[in-house]
Structure formats: C-alpha cells, structure tokens
C-alpha cells in the first residue's frame, strides 16, 4: 500500500488498487454479514417469542367474523338496557333430491341413526317421491349436521337458514311473540313489526326491562301456584312516559319451541283478555266525581241501605251501614257510595269520562293482540251504576293500568308503548283530570294501603298506594260466585308516582292463610307488595323517609259525624 505514494509503474499501481478495493470490499462485507446475522437472529427470537411466550388466548377474531354474519335477515330485539331478547342464528336445514336417492329405505334408516327424532317411514316416503326437492329436517344443530354428513348419503344437502332464538326463554314471551319456521312473526312484537324487523339494520329496543319482567313473572307465578289460579296477568308501567316496563301473562310458553305452543297459551291476558275489573274501577268513578266537583273529599253519601234497581240489589261487601265520607267510600270500597257518586255526575258525563281515558276502544299499543272493550249497547242508568264499581264494562288489564297512570301522574293520559322512548321524546299526552284531582287520588290510594283493603301491598319505604278489585266472572247469563278476577292496581312512590303496578289472578282460590278469601286484597295485593319491594332497588330508587312534607302530601282528613251533620245541615 505504501507503493501508492511513491508513484509506482502503471501495472503495479492497478494491481495495488485492486488489492485495496478487494480489501475494502471484504471489510465492508463483514458489516453486511453482521447486519444479516442480526436480522436472522431477531427473526428467530421473534418466532420463539410469538410461538411459545405469547398468551395462548382464545382466538381474537371470532367476534369480528360473527359480525359479518350477524344480520340473518331479522334484526335483534333487546330490552331497554340492551339485553338480548331475540336474535337470529345461522343453522343448516337438511333437504334431499329424491330423484338422486339410490335406496330410500336404506337412506331413511341411516338418517335415523343421526337424527333419532325423525319418523323413518315419513322420511322414506319423502325420499320415494318423484320430486326434485323435499325438506327432511329444518334447523339442525352443528353436531347433527356433522353426523348427517358422516353418513355420506348422496342426494342430501344443506341449506343455510336463520333460526329465531329467544335467549330469555319464556320471559316476556307474550310481548315478544314468536316466529314460524320461515321466520315470519306470528304474535307479539315479532308480528306487529314483522316488516320492520326484516329490513332494519340495528337492534330494536323494547321498553321492557328484563329484570323487572323477571320479578313480576316470578311473583305472579308463585301466587298463581299458591292460590291455584288458572291464570295471572301483571303489568308495570312508567307513568311519566307511558312505557310498559314489564308485561306478563301466565301461563306462558317458550317461544323457542313454536311447534309446542298450545293455542290457549298464546293468549295474552294483559292486552287481549277483557275482564270486568271490579272495584279498581272506583278509582275512575271517584276521580271523575272529584274532578267534576259534584262531591269533595269532605263530602260523602249515605250507605246505610242497599240500592235496589230493577231486579238487582247493589250492596256493600264491607257494609258499614252508615253515612260514609268519600275517603271512607274509597277505603272500604263501598259500592253504594260509588254508585251515588256516579249518578251525581250523570250518565253522559260518566260515559264521556271513560271514553276520554280510553276505556271504549282497544289500546293502541304495538301488538296485534289487543282486545276490544265490551261496553253496553245502550247506556242506561243501570249501566252507569254497575260500571261505577267495575261491572258491566269489560276492559283489558292494560286499559286499567293506562287509566290509573293518568289518575296518579298529575292527570295526563299517555298511550302505553312497548318501544323504548327517549326521555326527550316523551309524548305530551292528553290532560284528562286536573292536577289537583290527581293529587287527591294519590292521597286516597295511599289511604287504601295504609288503612284499607290493600294493606298487604305495603312495601316499606316505597309509599305504595292502590286499590283492590274483586269481580265475579261472567258465566253464561249470570255471574259465577266462586270464580273471581282478583286484582290490585298500585302506584309508587305515592308522593311522586313513577310506576304503576298491576297484579291480577284469574280464579284464585282462598287458602288457610287468607281465611278462605280470594279477594284482591288477599291474593293480588301481596304480589304487588313483593314486586315493588324487589323492583324498586333494581330501578335505582332509594327508600323514602316519611318526613313531614311527604306525610303532608299524602295525609287525608276523614270527615266524621260532625261533618255529616254539617253537610246535612247545609242541605
């Protein structure tokens, strides 16, 4: 290399240059080699790291794959908090091309080994037919599909289909409804929104709260069993929005087994069934009379003697045989007093009032199963008299709950809904009584639970108020003495009502504990009490202390004899 400086002859210089070039190339080659060694080492370490030291968790992408397949032609239905109530799953359905079947008998027998529940003869007959397509079994489970595939029978094939599933089972089955095997809605929301569910992309949120729904169904079921009732119905409605938070009709069914649902189980007692509600109707009569001003809370009527009209005699169940003030009439559920209140308002007024609060036409809720009220063809005095205490006009439990909501929420009637409403979208509603009358009704209903027939509905801290109802069921041309519709309709917390709760038992029988009584106060009121005690904490309500202001808003003065004398004196 030193030769360079001394300027050697041409050939040697080139030779030397070549040597330096090679030398430099070799040195730099070492750098490149080192870099590649490092790169391959890093890759090797990384392979070890990823293969061995990664947490071997569940595949991360099951969800994103499922997302693509999510919409199986029918939107999901969720409750008001987004809990899944109805969804569609992909299934495989087995069909065959009988023309390609080699040995129908053999094929049918083999199929039966994989699908034991099929009828071999029916399948064989289908396979013998001269058609190009026959369904053999719809909606196979993946395991069944695998088993059938393993048989290796030619001419069989699978069709991907969607199957409606209800993860909550029979919960809220009547509200949800169910679909047939072709995913067509047959009842409930599934039927009413059939078209919309097929097209909409996002979930449909109901007003139902599955937690409340579960409590209601459970308590109703317990009571139904305890009192050997043939059926039960219950509703919880938000009086501020008109949303139905729970709707239960028992006995219920499992919508996942559409073929096994007997026709009578589908019957929705809360909306389709119409019943003479009995004394709970006195809420409307009293509110109407107070609102019309024909009587005040201090006023009252003489309930000493039964009323005889035509061939009927109207008497009191808890007869006091004296003059009763309005609070006493309500508290003791006096038929005589209530009849007199209605007559003072007059027949047209009575009829108009009941029309205003929706008792004359089906409730416009999002269900096809809504019953038309049974009202008298010609409204005479006798009709007003009996309807005042809940006989002679049959309405659905939902009618009653919607009406009572308007009586306690300040006087605004809102059409009940099964669809979740944004708080900002709450409909204005329709004023049906004044706010003052509504405040009076709250006091009266609270009185019933504090001192009257509804004491069994008490739920400490939640200020329950309500009204009992016991009606004899119509049988042919008369009434059945021993077949009762026993109900209790309540609201809570009574100083500022948020929810109305109804429990109704169909043909409940009295037990030893109820001293043989099967009236609303004995069989339905405890259900309401238990429901309120369980759902109020779930709905985020704190127990209310009965402070003086609260007590003041709910207190009521029961006018005594002196008042009667005053009243008599003034008349």
């Amino acid at each position: 290399m030193t030769g360079k400086r001394q300027a050697p002859p041409e050939k040697i210089r080139i030779e030397g240059d070549r040597k330096t070039a090679i030398e430099m190339g070799r040195n730099r080659l070492m750098v490149a080699g080192a870099l590649f060694t490092a790169a391959f080492t890093v890759i090797g370490i990384r392979v070890i790291d990823v293969s061995v030291f990664s947490e071997n968790t569940e595949p991360r992408y099951t969800r994103s794959i499922a997302k693509d397949e999510k919409h199986n032609g029918r939107a999901d239905i969720v409750d008001r908090n987004g809990v899944l109530m109805a969804t569609s799953l992909s299934t495989a359905s087995l069909f065959a091309n009988p023309r390609l079947v080699l040995d129908p008998e053999q094929a049918a027998l083999k199929l039966a080994t994989a699908l034991p529940d099929i009828d071999v003869k029916v399948i064989e007959k289908k396979l013998r037919s001269n058609r190009g397509f026959v369904w053999l079994k719809r909606h196979l489970t993946p395991r069944q599909q695998y088993a059938v595939n393993r048989l290796g029978i030619p001419a069989l094939n699978f069709q991907r289909e969607a199957r409606r599933m209800y993860p909550m089972g029979s919960l809220a089955a009547h509200a949800l409804g169910f679909t047939d095997i072709d995913n067509k809605g047959l009842t409930g929301i599934e039927r009413y929104f059939d078209k919309e569910l097929r097209t909409r992309q996002d979930n449909m949120a109901l007003s139902i709260d599955v937690r409340v729904q579960h409590v209601l169904e459970h308590e109703l079921g317990v009571a139904m069993k305890k009192f050997s009732a043939i059926g039960a119905a219950g509703l919880v409605m938000d009086v501020t929005t008109g949303e139905v938070v729970a709707m239960s009709s028992l006995p219920s069914f499992d919508p996942n087994q559409p073929n096994a649902i007997a026709q009578d189980l589908r019957f929705n007692r809360t909306t389709l069934g119409v019943y003479e509600m009995g004394s709970t109707f006195k809420i409307f009569t009293t509110a109407m009379a107070l609102d019309a001003g024909t009587v005040s809370l201090h006023g009252g009527y003489d309930a000493t003697n039964p009323i005889r009209v035509a061939r009927f005699t109207i008497r009191d169940f808890h007869a006091k045989k004296r003059w009763l003030s309005v609070p006493e009439i309500f508290m003791y559920s006096s038929n005589i007093g209530t009849v007199k209140m209605a007559l003072d308002v007059g027949i047209p007024g009575h009829r108009n009032f009941l029309t205003t609060i929706g008792m004359m036409k089906p409730v416009a809720i999002e269900l096809s199963e809504t019953g038309s009220p049974l009202s008298p063809n010609r409204w005479r005095e006798i009709n007003s008299m009996t309807i005042s205490f809940g006989h002679g006009l049959a309405v659905s439990p939902l009618h009653l709950v919607a009406g009572v909501s308007a009586m306690v929420n300040g006087g605004i009637y809102r059409t009940p809904t099964l669809i979740r409403r944004n708080p900002s979208e709450t409909p204005v509603g329709k004023r049906v009584i004044t706010a003052e009358t509504s405040a009076k009704m709250r006091r009266l209903m609270r009185l019933v639970v504090k001192n009257g027939t509804g004491r069994n509905a008490a739920a400490p801290g939640y200020l329950v108020g309500g009204k009992t109802g016991t009606a004899e069921k119509v049988s042919g041309r008369g009434y059945k003495k021993k077949a009762l519709i026993s109900s209790f309709v309540a609201a809570f917390p009574m100083h500022k009502p948020r929810y109305v709760v109804l429990a109704m038992l169909d043909e409940a029988k009295g037990t030893k504990e109820t001293f043989g009584y099967a009236t609303g106060g004995w069989v339905a009121a405890p259900v309401v009490g238990a429901v309120v005690r369980r759902i109020a904490p779930v709905l985020g309500m704190r127990p209310i202390k009965e402070t003086d202001p609260v007590r003041e808003t709910l207190s009521i003065e029961i006018s005594g004899k002196s008042a009667r004398e005053r009243r008599v004196a003034t008349h």
Partner: protein, 374 residues
C-alpha cells in the same frame, strides 16, 4: 454423493465437484419445503376464490422443473458467462417491463404482469438478479479502471430501472433493487461521506413515500399503532404462530389459511408456523441465514471484485426478501407483499429465484486462479 466420479471431467461431473454443495443442499431443502407448503397452504386459498382445489399446487409443480433447470443451467456458467446472460436478461426483461404499460394485465391496481401464452410473467422479478450482476460488473470495472464511467453508468441504469418499477407501480420491488444496489455501491468502495448520503437519501425516499403514497402511509400507521386501523391479516398471522406452538397442529390442520387472502404467498410463513410449529420455523430461518452467510463467506475468499460484488448482491437480494417476508409476517415491520424465496407460491418469483441462485452457485464455484472473469 457419489453420483459423479472424482475423475469425471464431463461438464456435469466438473460442476458437481466444483459447485458449493452446502448451499445447494440448503436451497434444495427450501425447495422441498416449498413443495410441502404449496400442498398445505394453497388449496384453502384456491377453494376460497372458487378455483380447483389443487390449482395453485399444480401450477407451482409445473414451474418448479423450469426453475430447477434454470438453476442448474445458470450454475454451469463461467463468471463471464454469468455477466453475459445477466446483461441479456436485463435488456429483455426491461423491455418487457416497458411492455407491461401497453399489454400488461392490471391486477390489484398495478400493471405488473404480462401474458405469455398460458402463463403470465412478472418481468420485474427477473430484473432483480440480472441487475445485481450487471451493477456489480459496472462497479468492479470502474474500480479497476477498465471502464472509465462505470459508476455513472451504474447510476444511470439504476435510475432507469427504478423509474420503470415506480411507474408500474411496484414499490416493494423498487425497494429491494435499491437496497441491493446501494449495498453493492457501498461494498465497491463508495466513500463513507457518499454512503451516508445514500442512507439519508433512502430515508428521505421512505418519508416521501409515506407522505405521497396513501397505502404506504396506512401500512406504516397500522404497524406503529395497530389500533389505528385494520391489522386483521397480521393479527391472524401472529395467532397462527400461537396456535402452532412448539410442534404445530400438523400438516393441513391449520386454520389461518382459511381466512388469510395471501396464505399461499405473503403469509406462507404463518401457515408453516401453525401447521409445523416453532422448530420447523427455526429450521427455515436457519436455512435462509445459512445460505446468506455462506454466500458472504464465499465472497470473502474471493479475490475478484466483480465476483465479490455480484455474489454479495445476489445474496443480499435473496436474504432481504426472506427477512422482509418473515419480518412482516411476525409484525417486526409494516406489511409488505414480498415472496419468501422458494417457499411462497408464485411462478415468476420461483423461476427468477432459480436464476438468482444459479448465478450465485456459478460465481461461487471453485475454480483455478482468478482469471475467470477477465
């Protein structure tokens, strides 16, 4: 090993005794593994896009003999022969790259393919080994004074070829060719000042690509922050290695090949990881590393600058493709569609690789003296 007697002086006999049998064995092992992977990974992909089950596997097995013939044929050449063949190849395929702009079939937004009878050829694949050899000759000639403007000619040729590739556009191919060329320039004695300039230029080009080419930007973004976008493919790829564990799930038992669109080419290493496990993957990494380092070792012994530069250029090209492919599969770098030499599916890539290794073997053959290139 005793196919050819030591005294056999036929062409193949001399070839056998002078060729680098270690590299040959390693490459043979990679080719064998490539056959297994073509059978394992490609049927799932073929089925998914509605082709015959063994469509890709069959095609790969048709290309393989061509590639092998080219490999052996090229390795028979003398260094001077390598240069000549490389020059001819470079000219022919540069013209074909030009032709893609007129006759090319557009696939996924780029015109890279040209239909040649029943098969389509990606001419840019063949530019890589050919240009490595030609560039090496130009650098070496400049250095030894045989060619006055060798470096400038090399820069000019590089500019033309990269320009063609960027027009297609085929950024990945341009990156590989640029890296190989820069590496050769560096080995050829580029002053360190200019080498630094070249490195800075490379970084600048990358930054430019990031800001001008949206798909480059999105890939880099997704690499740096996986939550910023869809990292589905590479996540599935890592999941494959996890599933595979030490010994793999067994041939054909993998699941990622069902979902990864490029399971048979860009993500073939992930399929290997899932079905054959860690140990087989390490063997593959070791095989690539062995071929690269063995190539460098051979180059180190060389006294002829052209052979040194050409050998390292070919080795770098081979190694770089392997590193980029495995690196992106393992999420060590942003995903870049690059085939894993001899293992991934792809006819042009396979045949071009055969040529590349053929050149490499030809240049690293034992020969008497160093006059061969002159």
């Amino acid at each position: 090993m005793t196919v050819f007697a030591r005294s056999d002086t036929s062409i193949l006999g001399r070839w056998w005794w002078t060729v680098d049998r270690w590299t040959l064995t390693a490459v043979g092992a990679l080719i064998a593994f490539g056959i297994i992977m073509a059978l394992a990974a490609s049927p799932a992909v073929a089925e998914r896009i509605g082709l015959d089950y063994f469509y890709f596997a069959r095609r790969q097995l048709i290309y393989l003999p061509i590639a092998l013939a080219l490999l052996v044929g090229a390795s028979l050449l003398s260094p001077r022969g390598v240069f000549r063949v490389a020059t001819i190849t470079l000219v022919i395929f540069a013209v074909m790259v030009l032709a893609t702009f007129v006759f090319g079939t557009e696939i996924k937004g780029a015109r890279r393919w040209i239909a040649l009878g029943p098969m389509s050829v990606q001419p840019s694949e063949f530019l890589k080994p050919a240009f490595a050899v030609v560039a090496a000759w130009l650098f070496a000639s400049a250095r030894t004074g045989a060619l006055k403007h060798g470096n400038l000619m090399s820069i000019g040729a590089y500019g033309v070829i990269v320009g063609l590739l960027l027009l297609q556009p085929d950024v990945g191919m341009a990156v590989v060719i640029s890296s190989v060329w820069a590496c050769q320039f560096f080995l050829a004695g580029l002053p360190l000042f200019w080498a630094a300039g070249l490195a800075i230029g490379g970084v600048a080009a990358f930054v430019l690509a990031y800001f001008t080419l949206s798909h480059v930007a999105s890939r880099v973004d997704r690499f740096l922050d996986p939550s910023s976008g869809d990292s589905y493919q590479v996540d599935r790829s890592l999941e494959a290695f996890m599933n595979g564990g030490l010994f793999g799930r067994g041939p054909g038992e993998g699941t990622v090949k069902q979902v990864l669109p490029d399971a048979h080419s860009d993500f073939v290493f992930a399929v290997a990881g899932e079905e054959f496990g860690l140990f087989v993957c390490l063997i593959i990494v070791a095989l690539f590393g062995f071929v690269v380092l063995r190539g460098f070792a051979k180059a180190l012994q060389e006294t002829d600058l052209f052979i040194l530069l050409a050998t390292s250029g070919l080795v770098v090209q081979f190694g770089l493709q392997a590193v980029i492919n495995m690196g992106s599969t393992l999420r060590l770098m942003p995903t870049k569609g690059m085939t894993l030499p001899f293992v991934s599916y792809g006819g042009s890539s396979l045949i071009a690789m055969g040529l590349c290794i053929g050149f490499l073997l030809a240049l690293t053959r034992r020969r008497v003296g160093t006059e061969a290139a002159r």
